[in-house]
């Protein structure tokens, strides 16, 4: 008998929990890895410019919690957190996240302040395809921080072909229906 069949429910859940825990990672970029700031795609820059007053981001301080692989991009859990004391003098003003490979690029835009107490927000987003997600934070002193995270999406959301109507299948179904009708009327 294999060991798997001997597993009781508790043992299985522990195993499943372990697998789930492995597939989630936290990315906290080291400031030293990129001296010249984060690589921001051309089409994301105006959005950052408008929201933060500048598009260049210093790598660090903000971390993204995301699964490495998303089986479906329809609902992917994301946690954005920023290292900040969140006091009147030093706090995070705004947290944003961008999905450059989606038809619309902003996936998170949160306005927070000292009353929030902790700069950490979780939500669920749609991801169209495998891509690098960019998170950005605007501090009360005007400094801008960012980090990027590569996510693999097995089945995308938004405009993926799986959501377009399968016209061939619809035609085929209609043709069969007509055939059945003909057969039925022919049999009578």
């Amino acid at each position: 008998m294999s060991s798997l069949t001997n597993l009781d429910r508790r043992g299985f859940m522990r195993l499943a929990g372990g697998v789930a825990a492995i597939s989630f990672v936290r990315v906290t970029p080291l400031a030293a890895t990129e001296a010249e700031g984060l690589d921001i795609p051309e089409h994301i820059r105006p959005l950052l410019e408008e929201a933060f007053g500048g598009w260049d981001l210093t790598p660090g301080r903000i971390s993204i919690d995301l699964p490495i692989i998303a089986e479906t991009g329809l609902s992917v859990p994301i946690t954005l957190s920023v290292a900040s004391p969140m006091t009147e003098a030093d706090h995070v003003r705004r947290i944003m996240a961008f999905v450059p490979g989606n038809p619309e690029y902003i996936c998170a835009d949160y306005l927070i302040g000292p009353a929030t107490g902790r700069a950490e927000v979780s939500s669920r987003i749609r991801i169209a395809r495998t891509q690098s997600i960019i998170a950005a934070a605007l501090m009360s002193d005007g400094s801008r921080w960012g980090s990027a995270f590569e996510i693999t999406v097995t089945r995308g959301a938004c405009i993926d072909e799986i959501f377009l109507p399968d016209l061939e299948a619809i035609e085929e179904r209609e043709r069969r229906r007509q055939e059945n009708l003909l057969n039925e009327s022919g049999g009578e």
């Binding site: 619309e104 902003i106 996936c107 306005l111 929030t116 107490g117 939500s123 109507p165």
Partner: protein
């Protein structure tokens, strides 16, 4: 439509972090999907969600089509004094969904 759930403690100590979870049922049609007849489904999402604590805004989310259906948020607020949290969701068509939750700080 638009059932919402708010999950937060009823009592906290002053200066403690209040952990808040909210969920609202909404299809969040992003304007890029087609129905079974090949017709484009027009965009209809909740575009704004904000939370006030005794009148002071503690959290605001501007939502975009990349927000998943049934917007869920998990965030924090700093406990100051007893009072009321007000949660407001604003739909693209102008509909406003709102709810309140009292909290005791002692």
């Amino acid at each position: 439509m638009a059932d919402y759930r708010i999950n937060m403690p009823e009592t906290v100590a002053p200066g403690e972090l209040i952990e808040i979870r909210t969920l609202i049922s909404h299809p969040m049609d992003n304007g890029h999907m087609y129905d079974a007849n090949g017709q484009l489904i027009p965009r209809k999402i909740i575009n704004t969600f904000y939370v006030t604590y005794n009148g002071t805004e503690v959290f605001r989310a501007n939502m975009h089509p990349a927000q998943a259906a049934n917007p869920f948020f998990h965030f924090f607020a700093l406990a100051r004094e007893s009072g009321t949290f007000e949660f407001t969701w604003v739909d693209d068509d102008g509909t406003v969904y709102s709810g309140t939750q009292d909290i005791t700080v002692e």
